[in-house]
């Protein structure tokens, strides 16, 4: 069985970006296969029959699904380089808690800020700013969420930096005005090659999300 690593990918997915960052942090070579989400490949449907979603990491022919689970898998298999989760169980639990917070609070409300209108959008905007402030509070004076080193929570959150332009434009608010430390953290992360090479341009993402929004509104 080949050692080959394949990532079933999509350029603008924040979840796929998490995996790309983790693989880059570990210096792992892999083949990225861009999926057409309107016409999913038979490989994707076979490797993720339950959710039929990207990202999927295929390692030695076996699939691993769900971005945070994939990142943990990568961290465990390639444990000798750039550890992403801390070693102490309490700090690991903390890192997982905040990564889960990103999934529960940033992703769904962010979607409504760029994707919805009217009252729904307004309510989502308030909640999103609140959640970002909570994250800022958790970050505190630390350079990264895990402390001195870039880690699991940073990997979980930084892809959503690609949404900042879309959130500010659609929501008509300034993220830096509300959460300056969070923006400083994002820029710090972007200085890492693993991050800057894995994240697409914010304006390109904005154009894509607006196309998506038009499609949903048309339905």
């Amino acid at each position: 069985m080949s050692d080959e690593i394949i990532l079933l990918d999509f350029w603008s997915s924040p979840f796929a970006m998490r995996v790309r960052i983790a693989l880059a942090e570990k210096g792992i070579e892999y083949e990225a296969r861009e999926e057409d989400l309107s016409n999913k490949s038979s490989l994707l449907l076979k490797m993720n029959p339950v959710h039929k979603q990207i990202p999927v990491l295929i390692h030695k022919g076996r699939p691993v699904c769900e971005s945070l689970i994939i990142v943990q898998y990568i961290d465990e298999v390639w444990s000798h380089k750039s550890p992403l989760l801390p070693s102490h169980p309490y700090h690991r639990a903390n890192a997982r808690f905040w990564a889960d917070f990103v999934d529960k609070k940033i992703y769904p409300t962010g979607k409504l800020v760029w994707g919805a209108t009217g009252e729904v959008q307004e309510a989502a905007k308030k909640e999103l700013i609140e959640s970002m402030k909570v994250l800022e509070g958790e970050l505190g004076d630390k350079p990264y969420f895990g402390g001195e080193s870039f880690g699991f929570t940073d990997v979980a959150l930084i892809p959503f930096y690609t949404w900042f332009y879309s959130l500010e434009t659609c929501g008509d608010f300034s993220i830096i005005a509300n959460c300056p430390n969070l923006v400083a953290w994002a820029k710090r992360c972007m200085q890492r090659e693993s991050v800057s090479k894995s994240l697409p341009d914010q304006y390109k993402v904005y154009c894509f999300l607006m196309e998506l929004k038009k499609k949903f509104e048309a339905k």
Binding site: V64, I69, D100
Partner: protein, 220 residues
Amino acid sequence: MSKAKLVILDCWVSPFCMRVKIALNEKGLEYEAQAEDLFGGKSELLLSSNPIYKKVPVFLHDGKPLCESIIIVNYIDETWSSPPLLPPCSYGRAQARFWADFIDKKVFDACGNIWRSKGEVPVEAKKEFIEILKQLEEALGDKDYFIGTTFGFVDIILIPLTSWFFAVEKIGGFTVEAECPKFSNWMKRCLQRESVAKVVPPPEKVYESVLMFRKMQGID
């Protein structure tokens, strides 16, 4: 030397709290379960230990709080390694985490779509619930437990939710045993374990609570 103090901020009917208690029982650990009154007034300790979600379970290890049941079960497994709840190999662990995540995303909400129905339960809701159990049945296959021959992580995450199934069956007008016999056998197998039986309440008691929740939410 003082023993490490283990406390769970608890609610007897919460499947999420049950997960933590089963994990602690599996590890042979003694703990104190502090019952929270979720409707009358949450304790100061709960609100200060879980300021983000203000929910149970909260696990306190020497006073340090941990929140979110799956994260707590992972922590318990990593802190007290014997017997292991997760498989030893990375791929097996990824599989276990995948199914735990699937269970969290799907099962409780599917239950809710049935027990929260006003009047006739929508056919779609029943169909979706059974479909989810069938997917889990497929993952279980011919194995005794989800990840193999030993009771572990996925079983711990799922078995507490089944304590709500009797209520769902009564309100939905179907039985899990008839629709998913393999799943039903797995349930019975898990409920025979002492660590589980000590924690999971009788289904009739949960049903009574569900009827009370329906009244509170203005459904009945």
